[in-house]
C-alpha cells in the first residue's frame, strides 16, 4: 500500500504540519513516505459524509450509477454517501440494499451505505422488512421513503418504534401530501405571479411538528430530511429545547438559492422541497450555525436531460449536488473549518452510526480525509461534472474552494483534483 506524506497541510485551518498516511491510517510523527504531496495552503478535513444521495441504480442508470455517483462524491470530498431507497426496484428488501452496497464496494470510491425504504414500494401502506435490511450485509440503519412522506401517522409511529430494536432511525421527507397536490414551487408571491401551483411552507412544518411529537411520545430518534423553511427551524428549535431526539439536515441549495429563480421557468431550479424565500434562506443559515440544523446533506438528485429539458410542470424535481456541496457551504459559512467538519462529516457519521468516518485526523484514525484549496475559485461547468447528469443550478456561477485530493482508508480516490479511477 502506497504511503503519502502531506507536507505543510493545515488540519482544519490550523498551522501547517506534515501528515503521514500509511497502511490506511494516519501515522504518528513524520517519517518517510512513498509519495510526497505538497499541501502548502491546503486544508485537510475529515472525509465528508452525505446522508442524502440519489444514485439512481438500479433502474435509472441513464441518469446515474453507483459508480458515477461515487466518483462525483469523491470529487466533492466525500468518503461516504447514503444512497436513498427510491430506486427501481425500490430498496425495500435485503436483496436490493445488498445489491447497492455491493456495487458501492466494487466501485471502491466512497463507502456506499444504502438507506432502506420505510414502506413497501414507498407506497406508505405497509412497513417494509426493516429488520431484514438491518441484519443484511448492507447493515442498514437509516430508513426513509424520501421522495414521499410517511404521511400516515400510525404507520410513522410504528416505524419510529420498530427500529429501536436495532438502533435504526427514520429519516422523514416532511411533506403533507394533501397540501401539496400538484405543487410546483414555493407558495408565495412568485408562485402567484408565475401561475405555478404552490407548495406551502406549512405542508413541511405540520409534518415535522407531528413527527417530533410522535418521536417524543415513543422515545425514538427522528431525522428530518432537507429542512427548507424558517417555520420548520422554529419547530425543531422548540423540540430540541424539550430534549426530543431529533436531528435535521439542510441542502446546499436551500442555503443559497431562492424561489425567484423559478421566474425563468427553467426546471433546473425545480426541486422538492422547493427553493424558498430569502427569509427562509437566512433562517436556515442561522440554524446551521447554531446547530438547530445538525448537518448539510446534498439531496444529490441526478436527472436525465429529457426529464429537465421540458415544461416546468412536467420536469422531475431535483438537482445534482455532490461536486458543488463543499464550495457552496464555503461560500455561505466562510472558512469556518471546525464548523464545516462538524456539519458535513462528524455529525452525519454520528447520526448514522457510521464508524471509521468523521473521526479526527489524529494518529491511528482511519485515513478518510479530503484536501481543499480554499483560495481557488471555480466557474461551474455542467459539462465537467463527473455525475452522469448535468442538472446543476450553478452553471456559470463562481464558487470558492477546490477539492484537490480525497483519501478513502489511505487510498487516494482523487489526486490533483481528478478522480484516480
Amino acid at each position: 500500500m502506497t504511503s503519502y506524506l502531506l507536507k505543510g497541510v493545515s488540519v482544519l485551518g490550523g498551522s501547517p504540519t506534515d501528515l503521514l498516511i500509511k497502511d490506511g491510517v494516519i501515522a504518528s510523527g513524520g517519517g518517510k513516505a512513498d509519495e510526497t504531496i505538497d499541501a502548502t495552503g491546503l486544508v485537510a478535513l475529515p472525509g465528508l459524509v452525505d446522508l442524502h444521495t440519489h444514485l439512481r441504480e438500479p433502474g435509472r442508470e441513464d441518469a446515474e450509477t453507483v459508480e458515477t455517483g461515487s466518483r462525483a462524491a469523491a470529487l466533492g470530498g466525500y468518503t461516504a454517501v447514503f444512497a436513498m431507497a427510491n430506486t427501481s426496484p425500490v430498496a425495500d428488501t435485503a436483496g436490493v440494499v445488498e445489491q447497492v452496497w455491493r456495487l458501492g464496494r466494487e466501485a471502491g470510491l466512497v463507502d456506499v451505505q444504502p438507506i432502506g425504504a420505510v414502506t413497501v414500494g414507498l407506497a406508505g401502506k405497509q412497513m417494509a422488512e426493516l429488520g431484514a435490511m438491518a441484519t443484511s450485509a448492507a447493515n442498514v440503519r437509516i430508513f426513509s421513503d424520501d421522495g414521499h412522506c410517511v404521511a400516515d401517522p400510525r404507520l410513522m409511529r410504528r416505524a419510529l418504534e420498530y427500529v429501536k430494536a436495532f438502533d435504526g432511525i427514520i429519516a422523514q421527507h416532511a411533506e403533507e401530501p394533501r397540501l401539496t397536490e400538484g405543487a410546483q414551487m414555493h407558495e408565495g408571491e412568485v408562485s402567484t405571479r408565475l401561475g405555478l401551483t404552490g407548495w406551502p411552507a406549512v405542508a413541511e412544518e405540520a409534518i415535522i411538528a407531528r413527527d417530533v411529537l410522535l418521536a417524543e411520545h415513543v422515545g425514538s430518534r427522528l431525522h428530518v430530511c432537507h429542512v427548507s423553511t424558517a417555520g420548520s427551524v422554529e419547530v425543531l428549535r422548540q423540540a430540541k429545547a424539550r430534549g426530543v431526539r431529533v436531528t435535521a439536515e439542510v441542502t446546499p441549495h436551500h442555503l443559497l438559492l431562492t424561489d425567484e429563480l423559478a421566474a425563468s421557468y427553467d426546471p433546473v431550479y425545480k426541486v422538492n422541497p422547493p427553493l424558498r424565500t430569502g427569509k427562509d434562506v437566512e433562517a436556515l443559515r442561522q440554524a446551521l450555525i447554531e446547530g438547530v440544523i445538525d448537518i448539510v446533506a446534498t439531496d444529490h438528485a441526478p436527472h436525465a436531460v429529457e426529464d429537465k429539458e421540458c415544461e416546468w410542470a412536467y420536469a422531475r424535481p431535483g438537482m445534482v449536488g455532490l461536486e458543488t456541496a463543499l464550495p457552496v457551504v464555503l461560500s455561505v459559512l466562510g472558512e469556518q473549518w471546525e464548523l464545516i467538519a462538524e456539519r458535513m462529516s462528524r455529525a452525519p457519521a454520528r447520526i448514522a452510526g457510521l464508524t471509521g468516518h468523521g473521526t479526527d485526523l489524529s494518529p491511528g484514525s482511519p485515513a478518510n480525509l479530503t484536501l481543499v484549496d480554499p483560495a481557488a475559485r471555480r466557474v461551474v461547468d455542467p459539462a465537467e461534472l463527473a455525475s452522469r447528469s448535468r442538472n446543476t443550478p450553478y452553471a456559470g456561477t463562481t464558487l470558492p474552494g477546490r477539492i484537490v485530493a480525497t483519501f478513502l482508508r489511505g487510498e487516494p480516490t482523487v489526486l490533483d483534483g481528478k478522480a484516480v479511477k
Binding site: 408565475l194 401561475g195 421540458c310 415544461e311
Partner: protein, 307 residues
C-alpha cells in the same frame, strides 16, 4: 418593439397603447369588402395548440390570414405530440420549417418561455396553464376603451377564480400598466394570498361582490370550473352563484354606463345569469370580434410591421 409576447408584463404603457391603436386600425379594415392586408405575405405563423380552444385558435387564424400570412395549425391531437414528442423537439421542427411566429396554447404555465429559448421566431402566448393570456387582456382593454373611451382611471372589478385564471393575471398586469384601478373579488380560497404583492401593489382585494358594484365601471366575470367544488374551494355551484354570480338584481346596482365582460366560455347560471350575459351592458360578443383585431395588431407589430 418587443420580440415575444409571453406576459402582459412585457408591455409598457406606450407599447400597449400602440397595440391598442393599431387594433383600432385593424378593426376599421373589418368593415371593408376585402378584409385583407398584404403585410405578412410570405411569413409563416404557426398555431401550436396543446389544449382545445377553438375560440382562441380561430381568432389567431383569422388574424394571421387577414394579414396574408401563411398559417399552419398544429394541434396536439392528430400530430406527433400525441405520440409523446417533447416540446423541445416540436420547437426544433417548427424552427426547421422557418416559422416566423409561433402562437402557443399550453396547459403548463411557462411553456411559452421554454419555447422562446428554442426557436428564433416570435413567441406569442395564447394562454399557458394558470399563468397568463396576454392577448385576452389586450382585447379586453381594447373593448373597454371602445365602450368607455379610455382606460386610465377606470374602476375594474375582476370577479371569480383569480387563483387559477390566466385571464385575471394578464388583465391585472395590463390594466394596472394602463392606469386603471383594479379590484379582485372572489371567495378567499380562490384569491391568492399574496396577489397584490405578486402582481400589482396598487390593486385592491375584496371578498364581497356587492360592496364594489355601485362604484365599478367594468365588471369582468371569470369562468369558474365546477370541478373546483371537489377540491373544497367552495361548497356548491348554488352557493357560489349566490355569493359571486352576477345576476339581474346585482347588475342593477351598477352605474348606468358600466359594462359587463366575460372571456368565455360562460357557465350561464353559475358566474353569470343569462339575462346579464344577453343584456346591452354585456360586451361578450364584441370581445370576440375585438379579439381578431387585437391579435392582428400583435402579429403585425411583433413581426416587424410599422404602425
Amino acid at each position: 418593439m418587443i420580440k415575444h409576447l409571453k406576459s402582459a408584463a412585457d408591455l409598457d404603457a406606450a407599447t400597449a397603447t400602440l397595440i391598442l391603436d393599431t387594433a383600432g386600425e385593424m378593426a376599421a379594415l373589418a368593415g371593408r369588402e376585402v378584409k385583407k392586408l398584404p403585410t405578412l405575405r410570405g411569413r409563416t405563423v404557426v398555431n401550436l395548440f396543446y389544449e382545445d380552444s377553438t375560440r382562441t385558435r380561430i381568432s389567431f387564424e383569422a388574424a394571421a390570414k387577414r394579414l396574408s400570412a401563411d398559417v399552419i395549425n398544429f394541434s396536439a391531437k392528430g400530430s406527433s405530440v400525441s405520440k409523446g414528442e417533447s416540446l423541445k423537439d416540436t420547437a426544433l421542427t417548427l424552427q426547421a420549417m422557418g416559422a416566423d411566429a409561433v402562437v402557443i396554447r399550453h396547459p403548463a404555465s411557462g411553456a411559452p418561455h421554454r419555447l422562446a429559448s428554442w426557436v428564433d421566431g416570435s413567441v406569442i402566448n395564447a394562454g399557458d396553464g394558470t399563468h397568463e393570456h396576454p392577448t385576452q387582456a389586450l382585447l379586453d382593454a381594447y373593448t373597454m376603451r371602445s365602450r368607455l373611451g379610455k382606460i386610465e382611471g377606470l374602476k375594474v372589478a375582476i370577479v371569480g377564480d383569480v387563483l387559477h385564471s390566466r385571464v385575471a393575471r394578464s388583465n391585472v398586469l395590463l390594466l394596472t400598466t394602463l392606469g386603471a384601478h383594479v379590484t379582485v373579488v372572489g371567495p378567499p380560497t380562490l384569491i391568492p394570498l399574496d396577489v397584490a404583492a405578486a402582481l400589482a401593489p396598487g390593486i385592491k382585494v375584496t371578498y364581497d361582490l356587492d360592496s364594489v358594484l355601485a362604484d365599478s365601471d367594468v365588471v369582468m366575470m371569470l369562468r369558474v370550473q365546477t370541478e373546483r367544488m371537489q377540491d373544497s374551494y367552495f361548497p356548491s355551484a348554488r352557493e357560489y352563484s349566490r355569493r359571486y354570480g352576477l345576476d339581474a338584481p346585482r347588475m342593477r346596482k351598477l352605474p348606468e354606463h358600466a359594462i359587463v365582460m366575460h372571456p368565455g366560455p360562460m357557465n350561464r347560471g353559475m358566474e353569470i345569469a343569462p339575462e346579464v350575459a344577453d343584456s346591452s351592458r354585456s360586451t361578450i360578443v364584441e370581445q370576440v370580434a375585438n379579439g381578431v383585431s387585437a391579435r392582428m395588431a400583435v402579429l403585425y407589430l411583433l413581426l416587424g410591421g410599422k404602425a
